[in-house]
């Protein structure tokens, strides 16, 4: 018994020593992006500036609630969201301090808030991943309307309404097609037994890679993550961007974005971090490690992404036919979209 107590005391002392050694030069980042996908960028920032970043990765709903409850004394300095809807929602509740600088000015205005409250840091588009063992490329639907055909019943996997990217996608459809048509599409997919696996696209890409489903609705970079799996037998997948035909609707291209929290304790570090996120170094990391679309025009898209778009030598934002909506309108649609998803039982 004494040995046990001694051991635990020693361990405690270690723990305390580590806490007491906390540095003052810190930055607290709340990230709705997954830890693995944001950590490389954060460690590069730490190396370049010497600022110690404290990260809390979680789901955007929970993080947004925490931010809104701490408005007077925020613990977060920067919030990183997976899509513009969550950012706009926080902005409309007065959670962000606006910021603009030379660095942020280089990002196209389509990908940032008009009042400078948040800024896009990387782009991603919706797409379909398919398993080449189970379905031929020519048989994969090329438009959203074709996807709802009954012949694909039981073959499609997707995420449930807990996923922010899916909610943003439905919001975009509602803006573009209207509530009735959107509901019709969702209900058709539901009637075709679309499998709503979880709130994570990782589950969708893995299920398609393993051959449990022929197709999956994802963000494009999940295809590339699947393509780079360690086990070669899991890599036999392809990607199709919907509605790319001339005159087609196009795919929604959304952004992963960041904003500085109002009254942030480490405002200077936060500004430095935002500038860093849109700097060529960070943009290159997003493009190379995460296969996302760099928003800074000077940075090149990952060659694998361009190859999947059949557009070598260009940039992704030129090659993809983008659905024409204003992505900063998505936040206002959030509640209605969630109500629609609840109504069609997208769970």
């Amino acid at each position: 018994m004494k040995k046990w107590l001694l051991l635990i005391l020693v361990l405690l002392q270690f723990a305390c020593a580590r806490y007491c050694a906390a540095e003052d030069n810190t930055l607290v980042v709340f990230s709705a992006r997954k830890q693995p996908l944001i950590e490389p960028v954060i460690s590069l920032f730490e190396q370049q500036t010497g600022v110690k970043v404290v990260l809390k990765a979680g789901k955007s709903g929970a993080l947004a609630q925490q931010i809104l409850h701490e408005l007077t004394a925020p613990s977060a300095d920067v919030f990183i969201a997976k899509e513009s809807g969550a950012l706009e929602y926080l902005q409309s509740n007065g959670a962000f301090a606006s910021y603009s600088s030379e660095a942020t000015a280089k990002i196209p205005s389509y990908f940032k808030a008009q009042d400078g409250s948040w800024i896009g840091i990387s782009g991603r588009s919706r797409a379909i991943i398919y398993n080449k063992d189970l379905i031929d490329e020519s048989a994969v639907p090329k438009t959203l309307d074709a996807l709802t055909d009954t012949k694909y019943a039981g073959k499609i996997a997707a995420v449930n309404s807990g996923n922010e990217s899916l909610v943003a996608w439905v919001s975009a459809l509602r803006i573009k097609l209207g509530d009735e048509k959107t509901k019709d599409i969702l209900l058709k997919l539901k009637n075709n037994d679309i499998a709503l696996l979880s709130d994570s696209h990782t589950d969708v890409r893995k299920a398609v890679g393993r051959g449990e489903y022929a197709m999956g609705l994802i963000n494009h970079y999940y295809y590339h993550l699947q393509k780079n799996e360690t086990d070669p037998s899991l890599r036999n997948v392809g990607i199709v961007y919907l509605d790319q035909q001339p005159g087609g609707r196009g795919e929604i291209v959304n952004v992963c974005g960041a904003g500085i929290i109002k009254n942030a304790a480490n405002r200077r570090n936060a500004e430095q971090f935002i500038d860093f996120l849109v700097s060529p170094d960070a943009q290159k990391l997003f493009a190379e490690v995460n296969f996302e679309y760099p928003l800074l025009p000077a940075v090149e898209t990952h060659p694998e992404v361009l190859e999947s778009l059949n557009a070598p030598g260009t940039s992704a934002l030129e090659a993809v036919r983008i659905m024409e909506i204003e992505i900063d309108r998505l936040g206002a649609e959030l509640e209605k979209t969630r109500a629609l998803l609840e109504e069609v039982q997208w769970r």
Partner: protein
């Protein structure tokens, strides 16, 4: 102790209030929920969640009862080979937290999973079906909870009084009749205790049902807290879950409540051993299969991932494994668990003392009961409640280490309390009275006599709360401050995004930390503790 009555009331009421606060806040929060939200909750969420949760809880309870009962019977009453080894080994699956079990199984089964790789490596190419959904969740929860039932029923079989069955035999009852009308009623308290334990276990599980994609109340609440921008539906659902838990406890209470099933004297004699004959080998194989499924296979899978993490480096270098962050999260876990265990023991000591010494005082009995309540509630509900407490009272401390500690304390108070009151029960009141007659003050008596005599009980109470806190997932996940990842959070964040290689090392560390638990249970069992 010769304290004034108001002081005694004060102590037990304060502790009960602290423990009941999260519960009260959930109800208070739910009272503020809009009528339309209640309507949506009742029509769209409650029906299917209710059906899913009830079916899962029933299946897991029956499954665990049958599995645990059969194993206990084999070990206690038959000539099973290698009994000395099997008897303790069957408890060891307890050291693997259930969500880690689920994580291993989800990836063992299914197309191109670890299992298919293993079999094709052995030269036996097979296809294994995926185990998502109800059957998988039930299977894993049964595998994770049968050791509790096994332990309880085994102790009960061990202590059964043979004179009853012998008397029945003398009176001409056949074997089957003796079984049904004598032995089973004697085992009934163990069976109900086991079934309530597993029923609550299945009802409050978060990790397994999430990983196996089987929606229940708990996973729906988690989904609402995370995915939506307010707590209202989560709050309403929590109320239903709480109601549901009470119902279960009430049923148990009416089932066993006032009946007594023990004989006045315990005649412990060696029992007749049933000769299994040809069934000996199949029975041994069955036991081995359970041990493999519950212990060997998951640990093997984790080791395989650790191995592949260190050797075949992933083509994507997106999340480097680092010893430093592993050690940091280990220390975070130890910190939380130590503070929780110490606070729990400190708070339960006076309440346990009072509730043992003042058995007939209604007020104290009720407060002791209220204080233990958090154990029956699912961890996620406690976490939501604590979050609401802080939101209403001290917003600055919401999402802090203090919040995690209070949630864990509320959740595991009962474990420490039970052990300490059992310890105090064994200290005769005469000893205290003697000390007082010899001139010790009441405080000195408490310090010199009681505290010294119940030291082992204090230590085991501390240890069990410590280990439970180390392994707890939903509260640590929801309430953690920025940058404070414990081992369980680390496993969960990595595993839920499919980075199994990164989840393996913290999971193995967590299992290693649970070893004292297995040891202490085996130790108790060896002594034939009931």
């Amino acid at each position: 102790m010769a304290l004034k009555l108001p002081v005694k009331y004060g102590i037990s009421l304060i502790v009960a209030c602290i423990m009941a606060l999260p519960c009260i806040c959930v109800i208070y929060g739910a009272a503020n929920v809009d009528f339309s939200v209640w309507y949506r909750t009742v029509t769209r969420y409650v029906p299917y969640l209710m059906v899913n949760s009830v079916i899962l809880a029933l299946t897991v309870t029956c499954g665990a009862l049958v599995l645990g009962g059969v194993l206990a019977f084999l070990v206690e009453r038959t000539d099973l080979p290698l009994k000395k080894f099997f008897a303790p080994a069957l408890v060891t699956p307890l050291i693997i937290p259930c969500y880690i079990l689920a994580l291993c199984y989800v990836n063992f089964f299914g197309n191109k999973g670890v299992g298919e790789k293993l079999f094709s490596f052995l030269g036996l190419p097979v296809t294994l079906p995926a185990i998502y959904g109800f059957s998988g969740a039930a299977f894993i929860l049964i595998l994770g909870s049968y050791p509790y039932v096994y332990t309880i029923i085994r102790a009960s079989i061990h202590n059964i009084d043979l004179t009853f069955t012998e008397a029945a035999q003398c009176l001409g009852m056949g074997r089957r009749q003796r079984m049904v009308s004598v032995s089973l009623p004697l085992l009934l308290p163990a069976i109900t205790a086991g079934s309530v334990l597993t029923g609550l276990y299945a009802l409050s599980d978060f990790g397994v049902v999430s990983l196996l994609r089987y929606p229940t109340f708990v996973s729906a609440i988690y989904h609402e807290i995370n995915g939506s921008y307010n707590y209202s539906i989560a709050n309403a659902l929590s109320c239903f879950l709480m109601l549901f838990t009470f119902l279960l406890l009430y049923i148990q209470d009416t089932l066993t409540g006032r009946r007594l099933f023990v004989s006045a004297k315990n005649h412990l004699r060696p029992k007749s051993i049933i000769n299994l004959k040809y069934a000996r080998i199949p029975a041994a194989c069955f036991v081995i299969a359970i041990i493999i499924a519950g212990l060997v296979l998951p640990i093997g899978t984790l080791m395989y991932w650790s191995y592949s993490a260190s050797h075949a480096a992933s083509t994507l270098s997106i999340w480097a494994f680092s010893w430093d962050s592993l050690i940091q999260s280990g220390l975070n876990s130890v910190l939380i668990a130590t503070v929780t265990a110490t606070a729990c023991v400190a708070l339960s000591l006076p309440v346990a003392y009072l509730s043992v010494r003042e058995k007939n005082n209604r007020m104290i009995r009720i407060s002791a009961w209220v204080a233990q309540f958090g154990f029956a509630l699912p961890g996620i509900l406690v976490a939501l409640g604590v979050s609401l407490v802080f939101r209403f009272i001290v917003p600055t401390l919401n999402f802090s280490i203090a919040a995690i500690v209070i949630a864990l304390m509320t959740h595991f108070f009962s474990q420490g309390f039970q052990m300490i009151s059992a310890g105090i029960n064994q200290v005769s009141r005469r000893l205290e009275e003697g000390a007082r007659l010899l001139g010790f003050s009441s405080l000195k008596t408490f310090g010199y006599i009681i505290l010294r005599l119940i030291r082992p009980a204090l230590f085991s109470a501390w240890l069990i709360v410590f280990l439970s806190s180390m392994r707890e997932l939903p509260a640590s996940l929801l309430l953690r401050p920025a940058g404070f990842d414990s081992l369980t959070v680390k496993v969960w964040l990595a595993a839920s995004e499919g980075f199994y290689e990164q989840a393996a090392a913290p999971a193995l560390l967590l299992i290693a930390a649970s070893l004292p638990l297995a040891y202490s249970i085996m130790h108790h069992q060896h002594k034939g503790a009931t």
